[in-house]
Structure formats: structure tokens, C-alpha cells
Amino acid sequence: MAQVRLGNIVKHYGDSIAVDDVSLTVEDGEFVALVGPSGCGKTTTLNLVAGLLELTGGTIHIGDRQVNELDPKDRDIAMVFQNYALYPNKTVYANLAFPLQMRKTAKADIDRKVRAAAASLDITHLLQRRPRELSGGQQQRVALGRALVRDPKVFLMDEPLSNLDAKLRVQMRAELKRFHQDLKATIIYVTHDQLEAVTMADRMAVMNHGVLQQYDTPEVVFNAPLNLFVAGFVGSPAMNLFPAEVADGGASLLGPEGWRLTLSERNAARARRATGGVILGARHSMIGLHGEPATDRIPGRVYTVEPTGDITFVHVRIAAANVIASVGPDIRLRADDAVWLSFDQNKLHLFDVASGQALRD
């Protein structure tokens, strides 16, 4: 296993910029998720690491070696593709053996390693089948087996779970995480699903428009998003964001709907750094719902209620803005009930409207 280092990598397609000056280091044995909406450059980044695309600029190191000019076959990597890319005319056995054959491994070794990989993934009984005779989950395992059969320095995974149904996805997610822990493998994992990134990765790199937005542990990314994009992208339901004006020299916020919110010392200091207006961010769990008004409570009206069993999401309208809050399952609210919202000042996020960046201490 090895460290992977991206230094200011850039990729252009003609006039469009797919990856714009991305630098990050994946430590040896680390599971890193590249996450972002489609077209954000995450798959391009992965393909650059794989050597399937050529860099426009920057450097890529795998271990101590600079691999910019190396062919994929010489980079000692393995990759799992979204559609698995199993060779359709080969049996499962031949699929697993192919990477070893290409590396001129001795026949006996091939057989031993293929069987070992098959056993560890519980696909021994499928070895003589062809890919089209396998279910999605089985194909997924074979693809994984083909990647691990020859003990590469880095595993690259391109949305490997997105073709599975929801139940299988949860199961494979756990298996992949276990796979990483058992092998101490270096894994770069591309996904558009922030939940996968949050649940599996040691660190996640959030990308948008080819630019790296934030690279940190899921916990930090979730609790301290660096900018509006990350705040809106990570977490489900998405963080509530609403614009406000800084009033009273930073002591409070004034909403366009007419509400006023007094800020704590710490938040006031942050708000004073804003160059213009701010955007207030609060996760659903940090919003309290009340039946009667009080100072620093924002009035609203219940739009709709979504019970999910152990938690109930409440959509609240504040004038035209929609806010999602959550309450326990035993609290009964009905559409059009008047409610008042309060915020946990310690978990409040403030962003600068002009730059979109989080306002820090």
C-alpha cells in the first residue's frame, strides 16, 4: 500500500476545465471519498490518478514515484468501475486471472491467488459462470475480486455501489468498509452520494466545478462546512440556509421576513466579519419548534409533516422560505399550525453572502 499525492493537478477538455488546481494527499492505508454532484470533476480526478486520462498540469505521486507519464498498467493500481466492466466473454475465473496473466504470474500462483480472492469474497461457486449470468451484487463482488487479486498499491473505485438496489447497497457498504479495515488498503472512492462518503471514508474531498471545496474527516465536513456549497451538499435533509442582514452592529440578525434574532457573543463576532449580508445555516436537528412566541423565536407556519418512524420532519414556511426542522415521533403537528422556531446558537453556521465562505472565529 502507498500514499497518493496530487499536486496542483489540472485537466482541460478543449476550452472547458474539468479539474482546476486540486491538491490533496491520501495517506497510506486511508479511505478517501471524492464526492460532489455529477460533472464536478471527481471521476476525472480518479481517471487522472489511474492514468486513463492525461494531466494538463500538476503532478501525481503514488508512493515515492511520480507517475505523470506512466501507463495505467505500470502504476500498480486496481480499479472498480461503476458498471463493473467485467469482461463479458470471460468466465469469472478468467476475469480474476486476467490481471495476473498480464503480469506474467506463474500459472500455479494465478490459480492459488484467484481461489484465495474468490474465497474471501464468497464467490468460489461462481468461478465458472459468465458475468451476464450473475446478479448485480455478485458482479460487484467479482469486480472487487479482480481488483484485490494482485495486491495493488491503491484501489480506485468509481461509484461501485450506484448500480445496486438500496438494500444491497447498505450491505455492500458495510462489506467495503470491512474490506478496507482488514486490508489496510489505500482507497480512493468516487461517489455522488454524500451519505456513502460520510459513512465509509476516513476523509472526504468535496468537489464542485472542478475545484476542491473541502478536504477533511466526515465529522469536520459535516459540523464545520467551509462554504455554502459544502453546507448544502453534505447532510440529508440539506442544511437550512436563509439570508439575513447584520443589525445592531453585529448583535443581531434581521430577516427579510421581518424576524429578528439576537446572536451569542461568538456568533456576533463572526457576523461582524461579513462584508455584506450573511446566510444563516442550521441543520434540522438544531432547530427547536415551539407552540408560542418568545424573543428570538421566528414565527412560521407548518407546511407539511413527514413522519419517518423514529423522527418526524416538519416543513415550516417563513413567508416564502422553506425550513425543515425535526421533532420526536410523539409530537403531533398539523399542516397550517402556527409555530415558532428557535436556534441552538452553538451549532449555528454563518456564511458571507458575497464570498459564500463560512465566517470563522
Binding site: N47, A50, G51, L52, D71, P72, K73, R75, I77, A78, M79, F81, Q82, N83, A85, Y87, P88, N89, F98, P99, M102, R103, R146, L156
Partner: protein, 281 residues
């Protein structure tokens, strides 16, 4: 529902009429080929031959007589010319089609469009210069001249059809192969080639049929009786035995059988090959 039935009935009647239109010439060809010369030249015609005979077929296909030897010679020439130009064309077209499908090298579009545009040019535009070229190369009246010139239509067509097949093979398979340790060329050879075998077969057969049916070049480049291909041979036949309609129909029938059989067997591939480019967008 009633309206639905109306359209369906109309469709059925239309198809029935179309089948009659399509089949009539072919049926009459077969019927005539089973008649004697005398029976063929009757008015009103004998709708069903009173004394059906396979004489014409024996005549054409038996090496025991001059006519048969001549006809078999044409048949053999056609097979040879069509097969050779097909093999040559496909061999050259496979790597080119693959490159057009996969690589983005400078000039790709320009080159590919010029390949496509070839389909627009009539054979006659190429006929004179190629004739001059063949004279210069000393190839006039040889089958090599035909094999070479058939590439003028066989090659662009093959490139176009094959590119369609390669476009349908997911590029991830080659990427996987390259990551698994294959070079670009190995990925092509070991992974893509086996998968494109059906496409190559379909393309080869299509180009074989085109060559088999080709007429203008064969008419212009060949005049030595021993070297003619079937279409020109048929015409020669017609001038020589002008009133032997049953013989001519039998010859037409024999000439049509291989292509129609090949076609019907591989209909699925064919239809796909023909329509692939047009309906994709």
C-alpha cells in the same frame, strides 16, 4: 378500440399488397426458370409450367458442357473477388474504425467525415481515373484491379459499420484491461477484438454482398471472358443466348441464392448495421 381495428386491418391489407409486389418478380423468375424455352415464349403465358424441368440448372451447373463450365467459372471468379476484397477491406478497416471510435487525435473529425463523404460519390466519378490508374499499373483485365477498386466502397462502409459496433462496446472494459496490466494495443487485441467478432462478421458479409453484386467496375475493367464475375457474366450470357429466358432466369436465381441466404440468416446483424448510425441520435 374500433378505430384501432381499422388501422390494423389497413396495415394488413397494405402488407399483403406489398408482399405481392415484392414477390411477383421473384416468383416469376423461379417459374420461368423451370420452363423449357418453348414454354416460356407463349402468349398468354403458362402461369404454371405444364412440364416443369430443371434442365436449365443442369446446364448451368454441370461442368460437362461449355455453358456450364463458363457459368461455374464466373461463379468462382465472383467468390474469389468478393472474398478477397472483403478480407482486405475488413483487415484495414478494423484498426481504423477502432481508432475513430476511441481516440481523439487531431484531424480525427476531418478524416472521419471524409470517410463518410465517400458514400456520396458515384462509382462513375472514380471509374475513369481508376481505369487510367489500372492501365498504368498494368492491371486492366485482371481481378486484382477489381479487388483493389472494391475497396473504394468497401472500406469506407466497413469503417462506418465497425465504428458503430465499437461505439457500443463500453470503453470501461478497455480501461479495466489497461489498469489490469494490458497495454493499449493488448486491450484492443485481448478484450475488444473477441467482443467485436459478431460486428466484424456482419460487416464482412455486408461488404461481401456489395462486392458480389457490383457491376460497373467489373463491366469496365474486365473483358477477358475467363475473368468475368457473375453480374457481367450474366449480361454476356444474355447477349449470347438472347432468347433463352429460362436459362437467364435460372442464372439470376443461382446468383441471388447465396446473398439472400446469407442475408436472411444474419438479418438481425444486418438491420442493425444498416440502421445503427441513423437512429443513434
Amino acid at each position: 378500440m374500433k378505430e384501432h381495428g381499422f388501422w390494423r386491418l389497413g396495415g394488413k391489407l397494405y402488407l399483403a399488397a406489398l408482399v405481392v409486389f415484392t414477390m411477383l418478380p421473384m416468383v416469376w423468375m423461379v417459374i420461368t426458370s423451370l420452363k423449357t424455352q418453348f414454354a416460356a415464349l407463349q402468349y398468354p403465358p403458362e402461369w404454371i409450367p405444364r412440364n416443369p424441368t430443371l434442365d436449365q440448372y443442369w446446364l448451368l451447373l454441370s461442368p460437362a458442357n461449355a455453358v456450364g463450365r463458363e457459368f461455374l467459372r464466373y461463379l468462382f471468379n465472383s467468390v474469389w473477388v468478393s472474398a478477397a476484397s472483403t478480407v482486405l477491406g475488413v483487415a484495414v478497416a478494423v484498426p481504423a474504425a477502432y481508432a475513430f471510435s476511441r481516440f481523439r487525435f487531431p484531424g480525427r473529425n476531418l478524416l472521419f467525415y471524409s470517410v463518410l463523404l465517400r458514400n456520396m460519390f458515384p462509382a462513375v466519378v472514380f471509374l475513369m481515373p481508376l481505369f487510367i490508374m489500372m492501365r498504368w499499373l498494368g492491371l486492366v483485365n485482371t481481378q486484382a484491379s477489381l479487388i483493389l477498386t472494391y475497396l473504394t466502397f468497401g472500406l469506407p462502409l466497413s469503417i462506418w459499420l465497425l465504428k458503430g459496433f465499437y461505439d457500443n462496446i463500453p470503453v470501461q472494459l478497455e480501461q479495466a484491461a489497461r489498469i489490469d496490466g494490458a497495454s493499449r494495443f493488448q486491450a484492443f487485441l485481448l478484450i475488444v477484438m473477441p467482443l467485436s467478432a459478431p460486428g466484424i462478421t456482419a460487416t464482412a458479409i455486408y461488404s461481401f454482398i456489395m462486392a458480389w453484386n457490383e457491376y460497373v467496375y467489373a463491366l469496365t475493367f474486365l473483358n477477358d471472358k475467363d475473368r468475368l464475375t457473375l453480374p457481367v457474366g450474366l449480361q454476356r450470357f444474355f447477349t449470347e443466348y438472347a432468347t433463352n429466358w429460362p436459362g437467364l432466369m435460372a442464372a439470376s436465381f443461382i446468383m441471388s441464392v447465396p446473398v439472400v441466404a446469407l442475408f436472411l440468416v444474419l438479418q438481425k446483424y444486418f438491420v442493425r448495421a444498416l440502421t445503427d448510425g441513423a437512429v443513434k441520435s
